[in-house]
């Protein structure tokens, strides 16, 4: 199988997945609604109190500052939410008869998965645009120039790419669609033990160490630095490193699961 066929088959499978996304809009709506609900709850329910506790606020402005603080975390949650949806759609796809047809065809087989990943990245792009617009609507303002926004978009795409390869693997490994909707939930929980919602310094010792060193924290910190105009520092390289590592592992794992001859 030549490289040009691999690219062509992947493009074909991407078109197939984009049609699926268009034909099944309710999943996209739920996936985008999730982070928006988080944003609303955190800003309007918890935001007054949490904002007052942000370093350097001295009980001042509060809610508006908190919106600025959590928007990057919410953007990360958006990516995680769409990735979770990809585990479900991959697992659902595997239950359909057409997958057996693809397996018996002379095509680049991994393109079935590449189609899911690329489709998910595009879906993430839309979701991120909607959620960002919503944050601006609530009063989010940023001094970051276009170059920094480009950087943030690039990083979000990279995060989406890596988390999606992981969730495609989770979708393939799941024995049912229900399982596939549960196993990736850690992607939605781990951000709570990171710098997404509160600074890690506020956490007790053991938790703080975990929060500071888990892979999502540098990603969220870098996003925050990019969209607020702060220096990114070494966190940027940690983020890229984690993304590449997760993407590579997810890809190799998914590929192995998919190419493995089914037991029955």
């Amino acid at each position: 199988m030549s490289a040009s066929y691999t690219a062509r088959d992947s493009a074909t499978m991407l078109r197939r997945n984009l049609l699926h996304i268009r034909r099944y809009p309710s999943l996209s709506i739920i996936l985008v609604a999730q982070p928006i609900v988080f944003l609303l709850v955190f800003v309007y329910v918890f935001g007054g109190t949490l904002g007052a506790g942000l370093p350097g606020q001295d009980g001042g402005a509060g809610r508006g500052d908190y919106l600025v603080f959590i928007t990057p975390g919410i953007l990360f949650m958006t990516v995680a939410s769409v990735a979770l949806g990809t585990a479900i759609s991959t697992a659902t796809d595997m239950t359909t008869g057409i997958i057996a047809r693809f397996r018996a065809m002379n095509i680049a087989r991994v393109s079935v998965l590449t189609g899911h990943v690329l489709g998910a990245v595009i879906r993430t792009g839309f979701a991120v645009v909607v959620v960002t617009a919503f944050a601006f609507l609530l009063g989010f303002r940023s001094d970051a120039g276009p170059l920094r926004w480009l950087g943030a978009i690039g990083l979000l795409i990279l995060i989406a790419f890596s988390l999606t390869w992981l969730t495609v693997g989770l979708g393939l490994a799941a024995d049912s669609v229900e399982t596939a909707s549960n196993t990736p939930l850690f992607l939605m929980i781990l951000p709570f033990v990171s710098s997404a919602f509160v600074p890690t310094d506020a956490m007790p010792a053991g938790l703080r160490q975990f929060a500071q060193h888990q892979p999502f924290t540098p990603m969220i910190d870098t996003l925050r630095a990019l969209v607020t105009g702060a220096p990114t520092g070494s966190e940027l390289w940690f983020s890229i490193g984690w993304c590449v590592a997760i993407a590579l592992l997810g890809y190799l794992w998914s590929r192995r699961l998919f190419l493995r001859v089914p037991a029955k």
Binding site: T12, L19, H20, G97, I98, A100, R101, A104, N106
Partner: protein, 328 residues
Amino acid sequence: MTATDPAIEVSGLTKSYGDHTVLDGVDLTVPGGAVYALLGPNGAGKTTVVNILATLLTPDDGEIRVAGFDVRRQPAEVRAAIGVTGQFSAIDELLTGAENLRLMADLAHLERARATTAVTVMLARFDLVDVADRRARTYSGGEKRRLDLAMTLLARPRLIFLDEPTAGLDPRSRRDLWAIVREQVSDGVTVLLTTQYLEEADQLADRIGVLDNGRLVAEGTAAELKRRVPGGHVSVQFHATVGLAAAAAAHPAATTDAEALTLQVPSDGSIAGLRRVLDGLDDDGVAGLTVSSADLDDVFLALTGRAAKVPAAEVPAAQAPAAERIPA
């Protein structure tokens, strides 16, 4: 692969799952351009054979060549030569019929203009023009099966596998599908199909292999196989035990079902044979009469000495226990 080379060559094919042996040394050869039917009940191993030949399953042992290529060492070449339509519809239900066919054209790496032509031709040929832009989810069983087959045939494979292609279809859709298969054969395509119905194998196949418990127990043309089967039977139902007993005495080879008051007399289906049965019967004593020709059950019985494991619901009560019907 030329028309004279075997399209499929299998020798010593075995496959088991743990202790459960599914295929126990299958040998079969299908010449290019032929139609070969694998006949057998559920669980005989038909689908396993197809899946191994289609590179979807790895065999435990055996020499298997499809379209001249070794299924284990050259799976890509095998896949390029074959088309597979399985028992479960292999269509994308979220896409329309036209989009499904387009997907196949793109995956066959046809150039844009040829792909468009191929889609149009297949829609027309498989009578799907009216539903081309509807999602496949809304298709009827027959439409789904036609789309499925159109997707398999779009890239013009030289060898196609059809795994129980007419399962669950109404009689008209079944005949439509047979016509499509015959059309392929006249184009020189080699067909391996599996079926539970002797009639289907009879209608389509040049050669029939009877698969039972993972072994090929018989092979031949439909006529050859039928010659090995004692044929059908005549079932006579009586009003009373007296008539049944008298008739049973006159036909020692027959099977008596005392509860149903039924006598089953083996018959070759000829008029003479039927007359012999009728001659001994008293008009007043007979409640009903059925003439059955040889069916899969009879073929199985004759070849394996026991009834086919056809699901209970499909076996008329009067035929059970079937094993007693055949004279030793």
